[in-house]
């Protein structure tokens, strides 16, 4: 059973993984279905636009109105498509406990899936350094949880309306995830949570958090790929 320690800047840990592939399978399957739903809505909206195009004799203003409605449907379906794509990616993170994967893809995914948390706090998550692959070997789901926890700490510590940035860099054989937010000195969220520290320890990652000139930096150093370390 998943444990939640009750604090708002972390999501607990996964002491027992046996149920996770099941969750991933169901989520993956449902996102596939939802994708079809969105595709259908999008095509039906397009058909509406086609019918307007091919039947130009309509009441004044109705043509423009129908185009507008079709456009609104299409914008929402585009939004839904992105979310479903990201949720589907997320659902596959639990497929294997150990895998070689691109860390930037996981960070990008979690940043997108965390957007709503940021919006609710009137803040923004920005990503940098995700243009190039950064391959690591680890537990993809737990790494994603690490990223999420770090992001939530960054969000809570950030001053209102300031963005939280998350970056991925590679140095020597280590990959580093850095969460940066402008925070008030003396904020209670300056330190990485105990939960984040424990998760990082389990993943053999190092966590550093510090406040320099009002910036909270959480760096998570992930171990190198086994093949390069040997």
């Amino acid at each position: 059973m998943r444990k939640n320690d009750g604090t708002s800047n972390n999501v607990g840990e996964f002491p027992d993984r046996t149920g996770l592939p099941f969750v991933g399978r169901i989520t993956g399957s449902v996102t596939h279905e939802l994708s079809n739903v969105i595709s259908t809505i999008e095509q039906v909206a397009g058909l509406l636009a086609d019918l307007v195009e091919t039947n130009p004799v309509l009441e004044d203003g109705l043509t423009a109105r129908l185009h507008d409605i079709s456009g609104r449907i299409e914008r929402q379906t585009e939004r839904g498509t992105v979310l479903i794509r990201e949720l589907n990616f997320f659902s596959h993170l639990s497929d294997k406990e150990s895998a070689e994967f691109d860390l930037t893809e996981v960070v990008r995914n979690i940043a997108v899936l965390s957007r709503r948390f940021a919006n609710l706090q009137k803040k923004e998550i920005l990503t940098t350094g995700l243009e190039h692959d950064v391959m690591i070997e680890s537990d993809p789901l737990m790494i994603s949880q690490l990223v999420f926890n770090a992001l939530m700490i960054g969000l809570q510590g950030a001053e209102s309306a300031e963005p939280v940035t998350v970056a991925v860099t590679k140095c020597d054989q280590h990959a580093t995830i850095t969460v940066n937010s402008k925070t008030s000195i003396g904020s209670p969220h300056l330190e990485a949570s105990e939960s984040l520290q424990r998760l990082a320890a389990e993943l053999k990652c190092e966590v550093e958090s510090n406040v320099v000139t009002g910036e909270l930096r959480i760096s998570v150093k992930c171990p190198p790929r086994r093949s390069t370390a040997e």
């Binding site: 993956g28 996102t31 596939h32 994708s35 079809n36 969105i38 595709s39 259908t40 999008e42 095509q43 039906v44 397009g46 058909l47 086609d50 195009e53 091919t54 379906t77 498509t81 479903i84 794509r85 589907n88 990616f89 659902s91 596959h92 497929d95």
Partner: protein, 127 residues
């Protein structure tokens, strides 16, 4: 009557029938099948210029259907449509027999463009 005839294969009937209608406004006369068996039956009964196949089909998979069609109708261009995620991706970017791999949701203009491109390439090969 459209310029070209296309067979669309997808188990989402609402989706595929809507695309059929939209293609009719764009110079394509289309039919659809919701599974591999029906698709093969329609190919036996009618002439098509191109087939568009969804990877995920009930019963006979999209990949199996593509292999069967490629062998039985080697001159028939095939576009494959796939969703997203690790579970959906076929092995290799363009498996044998596929002219192009397209991602859902389909943009109708892009679909039309790819179909014309595939048919054109096939026609040039046979000149």
């Amino acid at each position: 009557m459209g310029d070209y005839r296309v067979l669309l294969v997808d188990d989402e009937e609402e989706l595929v029938s809507t695309i059929v209608e939209r293609l009719s406004y764009r110079g394509f006369e289309s039919d659809y099948a919701i599974n591999g068996q029906t698709a093969l039956q329609k190919l036996r009964e009618q002439q098509f210029d191109i087939v568009v196949i969804d990877l995920k089909l009930p019963g006979m998979s999209g990949n199996e259907l593509i292999n069967t069609i490629s062998m039985a109708y080697p001159n028939l261009p095939i576009l494959m449509v796939t969703g997203h995620g690790a579970g959906d991706s076929p092995a290799g970017a363009h498996p044998d027999g596929i002219f192009e791999l397209m991602l859902k949701p389909l943009d109708i203009s892009e679909l039309v463009s790819k179909m014309r491109e595939a048919i054109g390439a096939q026609e040039r090969r046979h000149k």
